[in-house]
Amino acid sequence: MRISAGSTPEVRPFGPLRGGAADAARSLVASARLAWAIEGNWAQPVYLAAFLIVRPLAFLGLFLAVLSIGGSLDVATIGFVVVGQAVFQIVSAALEGPTHALLDDRERYRTIRYIFATPSSLLPVSIGRSLVKASIAGFSALIVIGAGVLLGVPMRAGGPDLLLLVVVLPLGLLSVVGLGIVLGGICVQLRNDAWSYPEAVSSTVFLLCGAIFPLEVLPDPVQGISAALPITWWIEGLRRALLGTTSPGILGAMPTNELLLILAAGTAVIWLISPRLFVAGINRAREKGQLDRNTAS
């Protein structure tokens, strides 16, 4: 299209208009490729192995050791902890992913200004990066579950409940990514020390969501918060799909169809709110001048 003083850019200079969804999908795929290049780039395979295999197994061993001191280490308990610990590999990666992507681009790669100044939203870019981090963490989750099998955890007879798994897994992943982008929208408004905030949130959620102990251990008011977290129901859904058993207490008392309803509703609510909060956070960072300001130097 020819540029002239009288022309207005109703049409993109490089061609016909394309849909917003198509643009978002392109940006998501491009950022996922980038995340794969970044996350998969380990100078030494041994470091990658340490991060993806040794680290989650070390934590699993730690939790099991603590439980064994209390004398409550039976296969059911091990199964409870194994699934919780496995899923939480994904949870922490997805929760921290958007924040780390935004701060990486701002502080380390210094590309955020160039990405922000494209027609693409930072939202699909952050989601793409987060999903890849979560997928790589999924490898760690499989390692933990494999370790559980070796420890004698009885898995569901006849294999995992694939139907339940297919429904629960994406719903839960979506809910965590949704919470992650809210965190990203908050942390991008902050200075360089925001790196550690998602980890703090992730650790808190870890305590609240019944990953390593039943909710009944928590004080009553805190149990309410736990029940409001879709992650709590995600982990319980995955326990049912993988182990074929329910957890003790209020989690186990919930019928599976109601559990799915809660998880779906929670995910829907998160996705109704989280993109708006993310955009509001980005706009606030833009207003404060924090969006492309390198705060580390």
Binding site: I3, A5, R12, P13, F14, R18, S27, R33, P119, S120
Partner: protein, 345 residues
């Protein structure tokens, strides 16, 4: 706002920006009014901390103004950001941005996707830009292994991917060697020459770069535009009269400087030695006369008078002030002093 009804490439009205800082609010921009026409190469000249980058950030939708409004080709930079971003691009100098793990081609391909180009079309544009910038030999090299000049070429190649109507260049040649800086300037000129209407807003604190490249220049300091106009117009601000240096073998004995000063249109006449210093004494040998005229046309009378007196003309040159002199007059200090002052803050 000017009387023109067609959208300006850039229209800024009363743009102000205040940052919160530990010591209290800091005013980076204070009521910037600007109109840049399509096709112009407009320079913003000022020392470090003058507000140049803040202005570019606001116009390129990276930052919100505290006050005022701005539009790009009629699109508001605050409320119509998505549309503005389709028609503009941005290059900053002196930064080491980029994903070191990606190759040149991979990074360009990624940005092509962010610019909304379908994969095949995007890759075709990527390869075209790689060829255009002559960086084929580094297309598969990782960005971490690029030199500063190569990174800046990559940055420019990225900025051309979406065929922008307006290009914001924030100190694009800072840190580059002479050859790389010349390449950048040539590319910017070629970019504008390829299609009429393409507009460039360039910030710089290199006087020669601004003088050489820009159609118009705004001189900014402490967040304010002190003056704007063509380089010639700005220079006339400090030297309203035409100043010529006339080289002659000697001033004829029958003439004096006063007699030259009495000629129509002549404002001032001063004798200068070859080294430029003032000479004194009528009739003493001299080679150059610095002659101030009300207008260029008055020079004819002076030359005729000198020739009639028997002087032999050896050279004539028009003396113009430099942008540095304009800057010093407007800001009250040299740009290098200003940079030292802001660095020391």
């Amino acid at each position: 706002m000017s009387g023109s009804t067609s959208p300006a490439a850039v229209q800024a009205t009363g743009i102000g920006r205040v940052f919160d800082a530990k010591g209290g609010p800091v005013t980076a921009l204070d009521g910037i009014d600007l109109r840049i026409e399509p096709g112009e190469l407009f320079g913003v000249l000022g020392p470090n901390g003058a507000g140049k980058s803040t202005l570019i950030k606001i116009l390129s939708t990276l930052l919100l103004p505290s006050t005022g409004s701005a539009s790009i080709f009629g699109l508001d930079v605050v409320t119509e950001t998505a549309r503005v971003r389709r028609i503009m691009n941005l290059v900053a100098g002196g930064d080491f941005s980029g994903y070191g793990l990606l190759t040149v081609r991979e990074q360009l391909a990624m940005f092509a996707q962010f610019y909304g180009l379908p994969y095949r079309e995007g890759m075709a544009k990527v390869d075209a830009q790689i060829a255009s910038f002559g960086i084929e030999e580094i297309r598969d090299r990782k960005i971490s292994a690029l030199s500063t000049g190569q990174r800046q070429k990559l940055n420019f190649a990225r900025s051309f991917l979406n065929d922008p109507w307006i290009l914001f260049l924030d100190e694009p040649t800072i840190g580059l060697d002479v050859s790389a800086a010349r390449d950048v300037r040539d590319r910017v000129r070629a970019f504008q020459a390829e299609q009429p209407g393409r507009t460039v807003l360039l910030t710089t604190h290199y006087m020669a770069e601004a003088d050489e490249m820009c159609d118009r220049i705004a001189i900014v300091d402490h967040g304010r535009i002190l003056a704007q106009g063509t380089p010639t117009e700005l220079k006339r601000m400090v030297q309203k009269d035409a100043l010529f240096v006339v080289g002659i073998d000697a001033l004829p004995a029958s003439m004096s400087l006063d007699s030259l000063r009495a000629l129509p249109g002549v404002i001032s006449v001063a004798a200068r030695d070859a080294d430029g210093s003032d000479a004194s004494g009528v009739g003493s040998p001299m080679r150059r006369l610095a002659i101030g005229l009300k207008e260029d046309g008055a020079l004819g009378g002076v030359i005729s008078a000198l020739a009639a007196g028997g002087a032999h003309l050896q050279e004539i040159s028009k003396s113009e002030p430099t942008l540095e002199e304009v800057f010093v007059q407007l800001v009250g200090r040299g740009i290098s002093e200003s940079d030292e002052a802001s660095n020391g803050e």
